[in-house]
């Protein structure tokens, strides 16, 4: 049995608490540690705000090859940085060699 976590600044994520997801408001200093802690504690999906994810690239990369947890970027309250879409493009590029699907 796994759980779902949401990480980010408080303003971006407090709404998810109402849906029954576990929210973890974090500052960027403790975020990396918290991410590893959540991954070890049996969270299957960790949603993380794009702003925070940008600071944790290295930590998130560790979970890319594992089935769980799935670390998924979501836009925060400050707006969309486009890094989530870039992630999709990156995996297409990795697989195909060049981005043939979304290059235009």
């Amino acid at each position: 049995m796994y759980k779902i976590a949401v990480m980010g600044d408080y303003d971006s994520i407090y709404g998810f608490a109402a849906l029954g997801l576990d929210t973890f408001p974090v500052t960027s200093q403790e975020a990396g540690e918290r991410l590893h802690q959540l991954a070890a504690e049996g969270y299957g999906i960790i949603y993380i705000t794009e702003v925070l994810a940008a600071q944790l690239k290295h930590e998130i990369a560790r979970y890319e090859g594992q089935i769980i947890p799935a670390v998924i970027e979501i836009p925060g309250v400050s707006g969309n940085t486009g890094s989530g879409v870039r992630g999709v493009k990156k995996s297409v590029e990795q697989a195909v060699g060049s981005d043939i699907l979304f290059s235009n």
Partner: protein, 219 residues
């Protein structure tokens, strides 16, 4: 050239020929695997992008609603309202094997029987904007879960495709040409030995005939 270390024997030739057959077969299989993975990956990547755009738009809209809800209420009331959630979502993780890549299958369960039981507060002290905001976020949740599943599958498959592609290339451009080169080298060496022993035999025969019949003296 690698063939300098090869001992040109029949045994080595048979071995190398077998290796070549295996390499060809492996190459074909891996190529098929790569093509099929690629086909499925492209479908998945398209779905991933569509879902991501939908989810991002949904979350942005929900965030706007929350800002409006917040403007109409004081901070403390809002915090209290969302402090003790009624609903709890738990996750079952299954695995699906797609061309030897394990991709996750997420299945969610809500704690209360009614999945729409999301309002963790009484309606007396909160604005209706908050209800709308929570609802808009709840509506996007199924898509968010599907996004998590698809995006993870995309990442895993992309890594596997890259690995398979490297293997196919290694077989195609290194292993198979090397084996062919070795076979050619051994065959040539063996033929050469064959010819030289043939000549040697002819020479010996000539010498023996000469000794018996003394052709050169008669001429």
């Amino acid at each position: 050239m690698a063939s300098t270390q090869i001992t040109p024997t029949r045994m080595e030739l048979t071995k190398t020929k077998k290796k070549l057959v295996t390499a060809r077969r492996g190459h074909k299989l891996l190529k098929d695997k790569r093509d099929e993975l690629m086909r499925q990956f492209l479908d998945l990547a398209r779905e991933n992008m569509a879902l991501r755009q939908k989810v991002e738009a949904g979350i942005l809209a929900a965030n706007k609603n929350f800002v409006i809800a917040r403007a109409g209420m004081d901070e403390a009331t809002l915090h209290t309202a969302l402090m003790a959630p009624k609903q709890q979502v738990s996750l079952e993780v299954g695995k699906k094997n797609v061309m030897s890549v394990n991709i996750p299958v997420f299945d969610t369960k809500t704690r209360t029987a009614d999945a729409n039981d999301i309002y963790s507060y009484g309606f007396a002290f909160t604005s209706s904007d908050l209800d709308g905001a929570v609802k808009s976020l709840a509506d996007i949740l199924p898509d968010m879960l599907r996004l998590a599943e698809v995006e993870k599958a995309c990442q895993l498959m992309a890594a596997e495709i890259e690995k398979t592609r490297r293997r196919v290339n290694a077989l195609e451009h290194v292993i198979i040409p090397q084996a062919q080169e070795t076979i050619k080298y051994i065959t040539m060496k063996l033929d050469e030995n064959e010819r030289s022993s043939q000549i040697r035999l002819m020479k010996v025969k000539d010498m023996m005939l000469e000794e018996a019949h003394h052709y050169s003296e008669r001429a």
